[in-house]
């Protein structure tokens, strides 16, 4: 199942569905990294609200996406991590260091707007 990537102004938004295969995640990673330069986006928001489990591969992919996007000159915000998922992740040591996080899509956009204001 392919993850749609939506363009909203200077931000790309990708919404995870439940039960993504590893191949889907790889595809998403490549898609985001390509499109962020193609659309000259300033930031990427990855919404994981629908994910009620986060395995190590998904977590590592998220971190890789964030770091690759950074190298491509934009910023990443992960939004919508469920409380149970967050708890499970830290217990597994998957803390997404160096990656911005926000409560939900709205918060993520607010965070980026604030950031754009101060940097532009």
């Amino acid at each position: 199942m392919e993850v749609p990537i939506l363009k909203q102004g200077a931000v790309l938004i990708a919404t995870f569905q439940a039960a993504l295969s590893d191949a889907d995640l790889n595809q998403l990673r490549m898609g985001l990294v390509q499109q962020v330069v193609k659309f000259r986006s300033r930031a990427v928001i990855v919404d994981v609200t629908a994910m009620d489990v986060m395995d190590s591969f998904a977590s590592r992919t998220l971190r890789e996406i964030a770091h690759m996007i950074r190298l491509r000159g934009a910023e990443t915000v992960i939004v919508g991590i469920q409380p149970e998922v967050a708890f499970a992740m830290v217990q597994l040591g998957l803390t997404l260091e160096g990656v911005a996080t926000a409560l939900d899509l709205e918060e993520g956009l607010a965070y980026l707007n604030e950031k754009f204001k101060t940097t532009s």
Partner: protein
């Protein structure tokens, strides 16, 4: 049937009484001398300074009922009633601060007082004394055992109940400003409570849409490595939900623990006291608190 303990008696051809008959005789003797033996026992209890938490009258009243239950248990060898009595007694005296050694002590004293009275009664018939003691000792030991176990079980039940109560003491997640939560933690944290706290906080962050959380641990004197790690995990999990955590009120001991486990201080935002923590949280949220006038 209780196994016989104590000195094994050589086979005695003249032996006529069954152990149960002996016990019956014994019980009759104890019933007859109830007043005197009970008083002697109470004197011994006071002399040994047991049950200091109770008044003389209370000791006497308890001693009477313990004595009767004891004799009854000897007679019927039905230990269920005694067990129930021991539990009931423990329920009453545990809140008074009676210790395990005191309960075991008084039961052993009673055993000795009664054994002495048997010595006195049968001192002229050594063989009979021997047989009586053969019947008496296992039963008496079993009674002492039952009472002690009953007391300890009751004590453990009380402890379990209290632990439960402490656990259920809700640790409130409080909203003090829009998007600012406070989590005051008081008392001892064990791994189970730490886990519960984390889950409560994460749910609170989600429902209150919090951006900043102040965790105040002024009321926590010390924490072990596991719990300190749990605290760090709580901070990290909150960040995954997009909330910044400020930890306030770390005691020197906890600071020591955190340094020992090598916490990444870049991840932990700490302020000395709760007031400072709230002030910093307000700054993060863009609040500016101004004093409008001197308080009257």
């Amino acid at each position: 049937m209780p196994r016989r303990e104590g000195t094994p008696t050589p086979p005695d051809p003249k032996r006529t009484e069954e152990p149960s008959e002996l016990l019956r005789e014994l019980v009759a003797h104890l019933r007859q001398n109830r007043t005197q033996l009970r008083e002697e026992w109470v004197v011994r209890i006071t002399e040994t300074r047991l049950l200091t938490a109770m008044t003389k009258e209370e000791i006497f009243a308890e001693a009477t009922s313990v004595y009767d239950s004891y004799v009854e248990a000897l007679e019927t060898e039905a230990f269920e009633a005694l067990q129930a009595y021991a539990r009931n007694l423990s329920e009453r005296i545990i809140p008074r601060g009676v210790e395990t050694h005191e309960v075991v002590g008084i039961v052993l004293l009673l055993r000795d007082v009664l054994a002495r009275s048997l010595f006195a009664k049968y001192q002229n018939d050594f063989k009979k004394l021997n047989r009586i003691l053969d019947a008496y000792e296992p039963a008496a030991n079993r009674i002492a055992n039952t009472v002690a176990v009953g007391f300890v079980q009751e004590r453990e039940r009380v402890i379990r109940q209290q632990q439960e109560a402490i656990r259920e003491l809700s640790t409130p997640v409080l909203q003090v400003r829009e998007r600012l939560l406070i989590l005051p933690i008081i008392g001892v944290i064990d791994p189970q409570r730490a886990r519960q706290l984390t889950e409560q906080l994460l749910r609170g962050i989600r429902t209150n849409r919090a951006k900043v959380v102040v965790i105040d641990i002024t009321g926590v004197a010390a924490m072990d490595l596991t719990v300190a790690n749990n605290l760090v995990q709580t901070v990290e999990a909150s960040r995954l939900l997009g909330a910044t955590v400020i930890v306030t009120g770390l005691s020197p001991e906890i600071a020591q623990t955190l340094v020992t486990i090598g916490v990444d201080l870049g991840k932990m935002n700490t302020v000395g006291d709760l007031q400072g923590g709230i002030e910093q949280a307000e700054r993060l949220l863009g609040y500016k608190v101004e004093k409008l006038a001197e308080p009257r």
